[in-house]
């Protein structure tokens, strides 16, 4: 089916609201005692929710831009609209969300015995919140989804978590809320300066012209996208406010002569507002302290969704908001140094702390801090390789860390302990399980032929291009990653079975295989032939690089030929093809 036709059928709304509909059906039509019926329904419904998201793969990669656009008036008094749309990046991230959702629901079949109805309703609600964040094209709508998501996650950890769940749940809630409310103020500031610059300022005519040119660049030549942005710009030009994300990007990218329309100083403040929210979500060092608690205390499904999808919302935020809306702040040397510095600290610190963990789940949690640092590094080297790698690595991290949490869940369900010292020699009793764990360990540490390698390779290539010292430092993270993962594997899987209880553990059941197989397939697929995935990112990434570093491709060529540091920062109407194709 063509993209227009699907947009006509409100495909994005369907994908977003289906899980919520399922939650309502569960609450209204099922009694709490019908546990198996509830489980069956939830499993059925989450798969049902996955199917329409597959249609998003029909995203037209040659046209690029925002597609499947839906646009309805919502709160005209404040200019908030119900605008949905996806680009190549969010197509893949939405698919990841719906897929991880299936796994999360599947893995709860026997693990959750208490308040089953509420449990599945909460997970479905969470799905709606996460998908909504990815597909929102309106900042107000984005913000609503962004916060809505916190509530089900709070319940998921607080009600179905392990011993210290209440502490972890409220810590998660407060931490992430802290970030998002500050972001709200930054959003509001953007919201008010938009019509101010386009309508109220003395040189608004030039600003309008420049913003329109930037809109052409951002749309990547897609008329529908351009139309959407220009509608929002027209509102701003008549003094009315808008929350359109893409129009904000146009404002951020636009410049008058050599000066950005939004002054650098203001850009840095606003950048900081968004940064706090996203950095907490990612989480970047030093905002990561909620993560080990939340991951460890959450039920398996909660950890899988947290690691698999929720953390990506932070990195997605940087790619969608910070970079394109505040390009000058993002490429400001001081900012880049801080971002890269925090990322590298995160990589190394996360890995070192992971190595010292006695708790299996906590180890995986800290490995996330390290891996997410790598993704952040890839984003802030601000070149196509780094960004492509970072976005691919978001997917990879979802797959491998999601799988690692599922793996912990499998043994936890059998033994009810997460201490590494309680295991050992499991490969003798659970060979199938050991094989899956091995593959996922390798995927996590970036072994060639598996997904992690491609992502980390691209990121490191980008980092190397930017700064060799950064590359050297971040590579140590990979070495440390191999160390803690392999040591974990050795301590749990190899040797002789030391604990009596471990002698009689069942190997993976058919149901468990069912949720590991798709992850294994994806891990190999991305590892061997990543092109289909990368092809979705190419155009959006090229556009983002154009926004942040105008004339990036030329600049390098000029650098090679004449030794000039970079080309003048002028936005051209035509988007220049950058060089991300080199990888393929």
């Amino acid at each position: 089916m063509s993209e227009q036709l699907l947009a006509q059928y409100h495909i994005l709304s369907v994908i977003t609201w289906l899980p919520l509909a399922g939650a309502l059906i569960l609450i209204l039509f099922f009694r709490s005692e019908q546990k198996s019926a509830i489980r069956a329904f939830a499993n059925f419904w989450i798969v049902l929710g996955f199917l329409p998201s597959l249609l998003l793969l029909g995203y037209d990669r040659t046209r690029g831009g925002i597609q499947f656009i839906e646009d309805v008036d919502w709160i005209p008094q404040i200019g908030a609209r119900y605008q949905l749309g996806v680009d190549g990046i969010t197509v893949i991230l939405t698919l990841l969300t719906t897929l991880i959702g299936i796994l999360a629901v599947q893995c709860s079949w026997s693990a959750i015995q208490e308040r089953v109805k509420e449990y599945y309703a909460v997970i479905l609600l969470l799905q709606t919140g996460i998908i909504g964040v990815f597909v929102s094209m309106d900042m107000f709508l984005f913000y609503v989804f962004w916060e809505v998501m916190l509530v089900p996650m709070y319940f998921l950890i607080g009600v179905w978590g392990s011993d210290n769940r209440l502490y972890a749940a409220i810590k998660f809630f407060l931490y992430t809320l802290l970030g998002s409310v500050v972001m709200l103020l930054a959003i509001l500031k953007l919201y008010f300066i938009f019509p101010e610059y386009l309508y109220g300022s003395p040189n608004s005519a030039q600003v309008l012209e420049s913003v329109t040119r930037a809109a052409h660049l951002i749309s990547g030549g897609n008329e529908k996208t351009l139309e959407m942005i220009q509608q929002a710009i027209a509102l701003g030009a008549s003094g009315q406010p808008t929350f359109n994300i893409m129009a904000m990007q146009a404002l951020g990218t636009a410049r008058l002569g050599l000066e950005p329309v939004i002054p650098l100083n203001l850009q840095i403040w606003l950048f900081a507002g968004f940064f706090l929210s996203f950095a907490i979500k990612v989480p970047m060092f030093p905002f990561h302290t909620w993560l080990p608690d939340a991951h460890t205390e959450a039920p398996t499904a909660g950890s899988v969704i947290l690691a698999g999808v929720l953390l990506k919302l932070g990195t997605y935020g940087f790619v969608r908001f910070n970079l394109p809306i505040f390009p000058d702040a993002s490429s400001d040397t001081r900012v880049v140094q801080v971002m890269v510095g925090l990322s590298i600290i995160g990589i190394i610190y996360g890995a070192l702390v992971a190595m010292a963990q006695k708790d299996w789940k906590r180890l995986v949690a800290y490995s996330s801090v390290s891996h997410m640092g790598m993704i952040m590094l890839g984003i802030f080297v601000l070149n196509p390789n780094g960004l492509n790698g970072a976005i691919l690595q978001m997917v990879n991290h979802g797959i491998s860390t999601g799988a690692l949490f599922l793996i912990v869940g499998v043994v936890y369900e059998r033994r009810h302990t997460r201490l590494i010292s309680d295991y050992g020699g499991l490969s003798h009793v659970m060979p199938g399980f050991a094989a899956v764990f091995l593959i996922m360990t390798m995927s996590s540490i970036g072994l060639p032929m598996l997904n992690g390698f491609i992502g980390e390779f691209l990121i490191l290539r980008g980092v190397f291009e930017a700064n060799r010292i950064w590359a050297a430092l971040s590579a140590t993270g990979i070495v440390l990653g191999a160390a803690y993962m392999l040591w974990l594997y050795q301590r749990t899987m190899f040797g002789s079975v030391t604990h009596e209880k471990n002698q009689s553990l069942r190997d993976l059941s058919a149901r468990e295989w069912l949720y590991f197989v798709p992850l294994l397939v994806l891990a190999f697929w991305i590892g061997i032939y990543p092109k289909p995935f990368l092809s979705y990112f190419d155009k959006p990434v090229a556009t983002i690089v154009q926004q942040v570093r105008p004339g990036y491709g030329q600049g390098r060529r000029a650098e090679q030929h004449a030794g000039v540091e970079s080309a003048p920062r002028v936005v051209e109407a035509a988007s220049l093809p950058a060089d991300p194709k080199e990888m393929e």
């Binding site: 919502w74 509530v151 769940r165 409310v181 919201y191």
Partner: protein, 521 residues
């Protein structure tokens, strides 16, 4: 003979009567029903006393109908009467609607509560109606004197309501504290009025505004004007329980019968905010000042008090174990949030205050409603622990309480978020650096507040139930709570119509001075 007497005294009684019919119908109906309830009380048997409640609900409904009629008649225009002491504009109508809503909810929440306490009597409902009448007059006050008198009318009724449990020492103590400090606040307020009157020679708000804006002499008496304004502000800070004038609030809220607390924490507070905005935006606009220009004025004063109130209320709420006290501190911090609209001083800010107060009716009365239902049989049900295990015993109640709590904390898509959003937006819209910092303080406070609201959620969902006795929630009360929940959802998800009307009300307010006055002839 009589006609000449009236003319001699300078009053046109026929005109006043006409205006009374045209402008006062909702208040007149409410007063009439209140008197009727008092008479009814003395004629019915003890077991029929619920009839008083039904009669007062009828009065509220009649008043609401007449209010709607008035809205249809006047739409978005501004009408004054009674020698410009009384005004009907969208702002007044919006607040009158909020008061009637509050009174209606409060009566519904009270019926079974009073049965449980064996205190079902008609004067309770009559007092609620009288208090509501006073509030409705407050919303329409266009003159400092009419505002003061209506202010006292509602305050006296509420003092009595707080002491309604005659045999309960706490109730008496609460009323005494509330009364003494309230009277003190009224004194401050009146002193401020006298200073402003002495300076401008006017008590009418729009004429005060005109005098302050034009008279050169006032510049030389700047200090006195500021002092008078500050006294009026202090009186109002007492009434809305803003720090550091909030000390009475936790004691009064804890000691008063829960249903009365529910009523006064929403109604009395909204009324005080209505006159706060009216006096400061329409009357004392010239004394506003702006921090960046180095001008001291009420904007800075209110900003400091707002920041202090939010933070103090929130920090004090963190450690409470008594749910009523916790909610009292929560309401203090909400007063701080509401003051932000005044600090912003633009249409968005005032719009935010109106929307927030409307939302506050539903979320706060809803929360108090659940709290009231916990009071059953011999169970006091006023601790945070009283909510333990509510999800298992009363899932619908628990879910509704969760919605109210999330809304109070301002989590979307609940209505509380829309209110907070508008208040923050008003501050950011000014573009002033100091107001942006204030907005940062405010958002950090929402994070703190989530912690104690989440304590209720935690108790309901994760703790084991300690009491098995069913809640004292009549069918009417359940219906009221469900309506409140649905409204919290509707305003949160589709706020457009509410924002639209609030915008009209707010913009009428800031341009009230300049807009042509229509006087009924």
């Amino acid at each position: 003979m009589s006609a000449s007497l009236f003319i001699a005294s300078g009053l046109d009684w026929r005109l006043l009567l006409q205006q009374g019919v045209a402008l006062l119908m909702p208040e007149v109906l409410l007063t009439a029903f209140a008197c009727f309830v008092l008479v009814l009380e003395s004629t019915v048997k003890a077991e029929q006393r619920r009839w008083s409640a039904y009669a007062s609900l009828g009065g509220i409904a009649a008043s609401a109908v007449s209010l709607v009629q008035m809205y249809v008649q006047f739409k978005d225009t501004r009408v004054t009467g009674f020698y410009e002491m009384y005004v009907i504009d969208p702002f007044a109508l919006a607040f009158k609607g909020i008061f009637l809503l509050t009174a209606g909810m409060a009566v519904v929440l009270s019926i079974q509560f009073l049965d449980v306490e064996h205190e079902q009597r008609g004067e309770y409902y009559a007092l609620i109606l009288f208090a509501t009448t006073g509030m409705m007059f407050m919303a329409s006050g266009a003159d400092l004197l009419s505002i003061f008198i209506s202010f006292e009318l509602s305050a006296v009724a509420v003092y009595v309501l707080v002491a309604y449990f005659k045999a309960d020492r706490k109730s008496n103590e609460a009323s005494m504290k509330y009364f003494l400090l309230g009277v003190f606040a009224s004194g401050l307020f009146l002193y401020g009025i006298s200073l402003i009157y002495g300076l401008t020679g006017e008590t009418n708000l729009s004429r005060i505004a005109a005098a302050l804006a034009t008279t050169q002499d006032i510049q030389s008496f700047g200090f006195l004007a500021f002092f008078g304004m500050a006294l009026i502000a202090c009186g109002l800070f007492f009434k809305v329980a803003a720090a550091p004038f909030h000390m009475w609030c936790p004691d009064a809220y804890e000691g008063a019968p829960s249903a009365v607390t529910a009523f006064m924490s929403v109604g009395a507070k909204a009324a005080a905010f209505a006159i706060f905005v009216r006096i400061f935006a329409a009357g004392l606009g010239a004394l506003r000042g702006a921090p960046t220009e180095g001008g001291m004025g009420w904007a800075v004063l209110v900003a400091v008090v707002a920041a202090l109130t939010m933070t103090w209320g929130n920090l004090a709420a963190l450690t409470q174990s008594n749910a009523k006290r916790l909610m009292a501190y929560s309401s203090i911090s909400h007063a701080g949030f509401l003051l932000l609209g005044l600090v912003a001083g633009n249409a968005t800010g005032y719009q935010g205050m109106i929307v927030y107060l409307l939302v506050y009716v539903f979320m706060n009365l809803g929360a108090w409603g659940v709290l009231i239902a916990l009071r059953r049989g011999k169970i006091a049900g006023d601790q945070v622990d009283s909510f333990n295990g509510l999800m298992r015993t009363h899932p619908v109640m628990a879910v509704m309480m969760t919605v109210f709590m999330l809304s109070l904390a301002g989590i979307p898509p609940t209505a509380g978020f829309i209110g907070k959003y508008l208040l923050f937006a008003g501050l950011i819209e000014t573009g002033e650096r100091w107001w942006t910092i204030l907005a940062v303080v405010a958002v950090l406070n929402t994070v703190i507040s989530l912690y104690y609201y989440a304590r209720f959620i935690k108790a309901m969902f994760t703790a084991e139930a300690t009491e098995r006795e069913p809640l004292a929630a009549s069918r009417g009360m359940r219906a009221a709570l469900i309506v409140a929940t649905i409204m919290v959802g509707i305003i949160g998800i589709y706020p457009a119509p509410f924002l639209k009307y609030a915008r009209v009300a707010a913009s009428g307010l800031s341009s009230a001075v300049s807009s042509p006055l229509v006087t009924i002839k």
